[in-house]
C-alpha cells in the first residue's frame, strides 16, 4: 500500500499543470513552514524582524556567500544520494554512514599511498564513492531478498558505520601524540584545487554540478531512467513489463551511496584537508538534503534549486545564531515542517482527484439512468 503512495510521490503527478502550477506545492510548503516557524518564534519570544534579516545576512552577505556555496556542494551531493533511490520508491536515510566511511576511505588512501599529482585527488574520490556505494548497496538485497525496507536497513547500517569511521580516525589513522580525534594533514598533492580566494569553493562545485546534470539526463532521456521511474511508479507492473527490478534496486541504492561517499571524499580533501571526527555528520547535510529533495516533489531539475534554498536556510541559521542570538536549530524546525507540509499537500491533490472522479461517476450514473 505504501509503495504505491511512494510511487505517486516519486513520480510527481502535477505534470499537466503549467510551470508555475508545478512549483505551487513547493512555494506553499515553504510559505507554510515559515508561517509556523514565525508562530513558534512569537510563542517563545523571539522577534522575527530580528531573526529573518540575520538569517539572510548570515547566508549571502559578503564573505558568507562563499561559505554558503561551500555548503551547497555537499548538500547537493547528499540530495542525489537520497533522490536516486527515491526514484524507485526507496528511502535512503543512511547518508551519514555512507558519507563518513567514504571520507575515511579517501583519507586513508591519501595518507598511506603516495600518488602522482592529479591521481592523488581523483583516486581517493573514486574510492570514497565506491565505499559509499558498497555501504548503501547492502540495503538493496536486504529488501529484494528478505523484504526488509531500505528505510530501516540504511538507518541501522548508518550508526555502526559512523561508529566505525570514528574508531578508525581516533585510533589507526589518528595524528600521533596529539590525542585529537583527527587524521594528520593530507599531503599537498591530495588537496582539492580551490576556485576563488577563500578556499571554501573547490573544484568540487563544478564536479557535483556536472554529475547532477548527468543524473538529470539519465533520468529523462535514457532507458535506464525510464525503467527507474517505471519501478517507482509501480514496482510489480515494471517487473511484469520486463524491468529487472531487483538489479535496478542494487544499482540505484549503490548509485545513491556513491554520491554520499563522494561527498565524504570531497569534504576530507577540502579545507581543513583532514578527517576530523564528527565534522562530516555534524552540519546535518543528510537531512537538509532530504528536505530539499522532498520539496522538489519528484522533479530532478528542481533539486539544485531546492538544495540552494535549504542551504541558504541552513547556513543562514548559523548567522542568525551569531547575530540575533536565535538558536540555529530553528532551521531544522523549518526543514521538518517543509517535509510534513509537502506530504500534506500531496494528499490535497489526491483528494481533489478523488472528488473529481466521484463527480464523474455520478455524471455517468445519471446519464445511464
Amino acid at each position: 500500500m505504501s509503495a504505491v503512495r511512494l510511487g505517486s510521490l516519486a513520480r510527481g503527478r502535477a505534470a499537466a499543470l503549467g510551470p508555475l502550477g508545478r512549483s505551487a506545492p513547493a512555494v506553499l510548503a515553504v510559505a507554510g513552514a515559515l508561517v509556523v516557524t514565525t508562530l513558534v518564534m512569537l510563542v517563545v519570544g523571539v522577534d522575527p524582524s530580528d531573526a529573518y534579516p540575520a538569517l539572510i545576512r548570515g547566508a549571502v552577505a559578503d564573505g558568507n556567500l562563499e561559505y554558503t556555496i561551500g555548503a551547497f556542494v555537499p548538500t547537493l551531493g547528499m540530495a542525489l544520494a537520497f533522490a536516486i533511490p527515491l526514484r524507485t520508491g526507496e528511502f535512503n536515510l543512511g547518508g551519514d554512514g555512507q558519507m563518513a566511511l567514504g571520507g575515511v576511505a579517501a583519507a586513508a588512501l591519501a595518507l598511506r599511498v603516495p600518488l602522482p599529482p592529479g591521481v592523488a585527488v581523483a583516486l581517493p574520490l573514486v574510492v570514497a564513492a565506491l565505499t559509499g556505494a558498497v555501504v548503501a548497496g547492502i540495503s538493496a538485497p536486504l529488501h529484494t531478498r528478505f523484504g526488509i525496507p531500505a528505510i530501516v536497513t540504511t538507518l541501522l547500517v548508518s550508526t555502526p558505520a559512523v561508529a566505525l569511521s570514528s574508531y578508525l580516525v581516533r585510533f589507526p589513522l589518528a595524528e600521533p601524540r596529539t590525542g585529537i580525534a583527527e587524521t594528520p594533514l593530507l599531503p599537498d598533492a591530495a588537496h582539492l584545487p580551490a576556485i576563488g580566494a577563500s578556499g571554501y569553493v573547490t573544484i568540487g562545485l563544478p564536479l557535483i554540478l556536472l554529475l547532477t546534470a548527468g543524473w538529470i539526463y539519465v533520468d529523462r532521456r535514457t532507458v535506464a531512467g525510464y525503467e527507474i521511474r517505471a519501478t517507482g511508479a509501480n514496482r510489480e507492473f515494471a517487473r511484469y513489463g520486463g524491468v529487472r527490478v531487483d538489479r535496478l534496486a542494487v544499482v540505484t541504492m549503490a548509485g545513491g551511496g556513491a554520491f554520499a561517499g563522494l561527498v565524504g571524499g570531497l569534504i576530507v580533501l577540502g579545507p581543513p584537508f583532514r578527517f576530523v571526527d564528527g565534522a562530516l555528520t555534524a552540519p546535518g547535510y543528510t537531512f537538509t538534503a532530504i528536505a530539499a529533495v522532498l520539496l522538489a516533489t519528484g522533479r530532478p531539475i528542481a533539486v539544485p534549486f531546492t538544495v540552494a534554498l535549504m542551504t541558504i536556510l541552513q547556513v543562514g541559521g548559523e548567522g542568525m545564531e551569531r547575530d540575533a542570538g536565535v538558536p540555529s536549530q530553528l532551521t531544522q524546525v523549518i526543514q521538518g515542517l517543509v517535509i510534513v507540509i509537502v506530504a500534506a499537500l500531496a494528499t490535497t491533490r489526491v483528494l481533489r482527484e478523488r472528488r473529481a472522479r466521484r463527480a464523474q461517476e455520478i455524471d455517468v450514473g445519471e446519464a445511464n439512468a
Binding site: 503512495r5 536515510l93 536486504l142 523484504g147 561508529a163 581516533r170 524546525v333 517543509v338 506530504a343
Partner: protein
C-alpha cells in the same frame, strides 16, 4: 563477567523499557493498519516535554503526565494527516522525526536555557522502587530496586495489550480493521476512529517511553537522546508482527545488546563498539527473521 548477575538483568530491563513502550505503540498502529515510523521523534519529544514539565512543576509525575499528553498531541499530526487525509505515512514520519530533533533542541535553549545537555539538582526524576520499600525482597529487590515504577508497568502493559487484543471485543475489532478495513467498515465499524485511537495511544506510549528515558533511566535531557531507540522499536514491530510477546522479545534482544555493549566498554573496549553493538545485533536479527520468513514465504513487509 557473569551474564546472569542480577545487576546485569537490571541493566537489561533499564535498556529495554523505553524501547518496548514505544514498540507497543508501534504495534497498536501496525495492528490497526497504520504504518508508524515516527516513534523516534515522538520518543524524543516525550523525553523533552517530560523534563520540561518536571522542571516547571517540580514534580516528576507531573513531568510524566505532561510528557504523555504533549506527545499524544504531537502524534495528532500523524493521526490527522495519515488517517484522515491519507498522506504518505513514511514521508510524514521522516518530517516528524526531523521536526522533533529541531524543536527539542530549539525549545530547550528557550525553556531550559541551555544547549547540549540539561541537568540540574532541581530536576526531579522518578522515584526508584527501592525507595518505595521494595529493596528487602530477594531477587526482585536487586533487579527492580534501582528501577522506576514505569519499568514493571511497561511489562504489565505488554501483557495487558496481548490480553486485550486476544480476548476483548474492541481488541478483535482493531485486528479486523487492520486485516480487512473494507470488511470492517461494511460491518459498521468506524475504521478511522479506531485508527486515530491507535495513533494517539502510540503517541501517549512514546511519551511514556521518553519520560522513562529522561526521568527514569537518567535524570537529564540531551539533544537527540532517543539515539535511534525509536527506530529499534520500529524494527521490533517488524520482527514481532502483531504479536505483543514477540515484539517484547525483540526489544529484550536490543536491551541485552545495549547492556552488553555497556559492560564491554567498562571492560576496556572502545566506546564505538558499544555504540554500534545494539544496531548490528538488531540488524542481524532482522536478516535472520527475513531469511526465515523467506523460507515460509511471508515477507516482513506484509506482517
Amino acid at each position: 563477567m557473569n551474564i546472569l548477575e542480577l545487576t546485569f538483568v537490571a541493566s537489561v530491563l533499564t535498556a529495554t523499557t523505553p524501547v518496548v513502550l514505544a514498540a507497543l505503540g508501534g504495534l497498536l498502529c501496525s495492528v490497526s493498519g497504520v504504518f508508524n515510523m515516527a516513534l523516534e521523534g515522538q520518543m524524543l519529544w516525550g523525553a523533552f516535554t517530560a523534563v520540561s514539565f518536571s522542571h516547571l512543576t517540580g514534580s516528576a509525575w507531573w513531568g510524566v503526565a505532561g510528557g504523555v499528553a504533549a506527545t499524544a498531541l504531537y502524534s495528532a499530526v500523524l493521526s490527522v494527516l495519515a488517517v484522515t487525509f491519507r498522506a504518505d505515512p513514511v514521508v510524514i514520519a521522516v518530517g516528524m522525526n526531523l521536526l522533533a530533533l529541531g524543536l527539542t533542541a530549539f525549545l530547550m535553549r528557550q525553556i531550559l536555557g541551555v544547549g547540549g545537555t540539561y541537568t540540574s539538582p532541581d530536576l526531579h526524576g522518578l522515584p526508584t522502587l527501592a525507595g518505595m520499600g521494595l529493596d528487602h525482597v530477594p531477587v526482585i529487590g536487586p533487579v527492580l530496586g534501582s528501577q522506576s515504577p514505569l519499568v514493571p508497568a511497561a511489562f504489565v502493559l505488554v501483557a495487558a495489550t496481548a490480553w486485550w487484543l486476544r480476548r476483548t471485543r474492541s481488541g478483535l475489532r482493531l485486528r479486523g480493521i487492520g486485516q480487512h478495513p473494507e470488511a470492517a467498515e461494511s460491518l459498521g465499524l468506524k475504521v478511522g476512529a479506531y485508527r486515530h485511537g491507535a495513533v494517539l495511544a502510540a503517541g501517549a506510549l512514546c511519551g511514556l517511553a521518553g519520560a522513562q528515558l529522561a526521568l527514569g533511566n537518567v535524570t537529564l535531557f540531551s539533544e537527540g537522546m532517543s539515539a535511534g531507540r525509536g527506530w529499534v522499536a520500529v524494527v521490533a514491530v517488524m520482527l514481532g508482527g502483531v504479536r505483543p510477546l514477540r515484539v517484547l522479545s525483540a526489544c529484550l534482544l536490543f536491551g541485552v545488546a545495549e547492556a552488553l555493549g555497556f559492560r564491554l566498554q567498562g571492560a576496556g573496549l572502545p566506546q564505538q563498539l558499544a555504540d554500534a553493538a545494539p544496531y548490528v545485533i538488531t540488524l542481524l536479527a532482522l536478516i535472520l527473521a527475513g531469511a526465515a520468513g523467506r523460507r515460509r514465504r511471508t515477507p516482513l513487509e506484509t506482517a
